[in-house]
Subunit: 307 residues, 2 copies
Amino acid sequence: MTREPTTAPTVVAFPDRLAAAVERARSQLVVGLDPRVDLLPVELRGEAAAGGAAAAAAVERFCRGIVDAVGPYVVAVKPQAAYFEALGADGWAALDAVCTYARESGLLVIVDAKRGDIGSTARAYASAFLEPRGARPPLADALTASPLLGRDSVEPFLAACRRHGAGLFLLVHTSNAGAADVQEVTLSDGRPLWRHVADLVAEWGEDLVGECGLSSVGAVVGATYPRVVGDARRAMPQAVILLPGVGAQGASPADVARAFTSGPASALVTVSRSVIYAYRDRDDDWRAAAGAEAARLAAATRAASGW
Amino acid sequence: MTREPTTAPTVVAFPDRLAAAVERARSQLVVGLDPRVDLLPVELRGEAAAGGAAAAAAVERFCRGIVDAVGPYVVAVKPQAAYFEALGADGWAALDAVCTYARESGLLVIVDAKRGDIGSTARAYASAFLEPRGARPPLADALTASPLLGRDSVEPFLAACRRHGAGLFLLVHTSNAGAADVQEVTLSDGRPLWRHVADLVAEWGEDLVGECGLSSVGAVVGATYPRVVGDARRAMPQAVILLPGVGAQGASPADVARAFTSGPASALVTVSRSVIYAYRDRDDDWRAAAGAEAARLAAATRAASGW
């Protein structure tokens, strides 16, 4: 009689979960949840003005409403940790509730927190965001992180990719003007710093490639730098590229077409303000406005990607 | 009859508050609060094992005990956000409580969170950590942050320095081995990347110099790279240098003597694990062990600094 070895429950790599979700949703769009209290719809702003727990409750209701409205058109939501932290412990509870709600709605959750620290501390961040919490699932499916502290600082996140099917998006070239100050300095071999970082991202993700051919280690590349997007794609052929900068920051889906040459799930367009606050430019309910803008951007992205 | 213009309450610049505190405490030591649940003293570990709110309560009791024990020997404490975030909303509430307790004990609070994001998001982080929260004071006196996203990403923190007397410590050269992967790449002018970042830090802090001659914009430089410490001092003569890496990471106070050439408050030695878990190597109460180790390191630092 032979005994089967005890096997861990099957872990599906993040890029494979993502590729299936992209296929299912017919969308490569991610909506960023950046809940600024002063930009909430009037019906929630009054509640939020009381501050403290009331503000966090208003933010949570707003984010749930956005999840409902954009859910049919997106593959994931991307809560921005900063806006929740600005509301203290109540804000963190709201972040937790919103992540749970989005996942229960069938969406992937990418928490945008841009964490990065030495290994012992990075382990705590991995535990906060990417590891099961007792009987509860991880807060997020994937996390944005900084590569500035190097390989050992990223290792705990890679371990979470390996063990728990988590995903990681490392900052390669951000969407803001200040990106030039550090990320574009010229190295001794003539390349800008971000190209060196792109090579590290490709290397760190090499042994975390899923069945779909994409890696659990992705990259953040600002859509506001279209030439960088193409170069980044070539430097990191197996990385899922997360593309902020479309919408309020000025880029269009056409600017990022080159990111999709590794397949429909090889890039994600992430839009925040221009979707969640779309109601400010229209005479429409805030949920309806967000849904309409998400639908429009999902279609434009699909078209630009040649899917 | 002349009317006095309405003036804002006087804001004392962070470096001036720091210099006064260093003088008063006769210490340039900062103790890092990195509360790992599995390393808590036995009397707290049982409570913590229940997880959730009980774990956060145990962490809070531990940190309060450490604040009491090391208070007479340090100028500040440095809570590491990651360990609190790993406990969710309850952990964030514990972080808030510990920061409040430390400040009420007369210590400065430097939250180690290494935040960095584009301007609109950085404003939320500045609000979370460095700005008054309604009637409550800011969570922290100072914050560690990443320079990777450039000037516009740092601007909201600089505004908090200007308006609220906050302090900022930007990552210039971290203490870990992986620091070499990105921070030490060679630029076209032959310098390592971190030297370029040091120049940016000096420039960004130029118009935020206090009466003591030091700037509100400081730098993190790992004590584990003693040659870097000396070069960093020369590149940023007005920056307060926060020096991690002494103790568990292997450096000694003597390794950082060169950081203090701009005055007794121009550098801070920050020690975490080797102080807060000192009880693990001694047959002593955890508070007494932490206090004794802090006293020893404060004296060694004072001697190394030539004060």
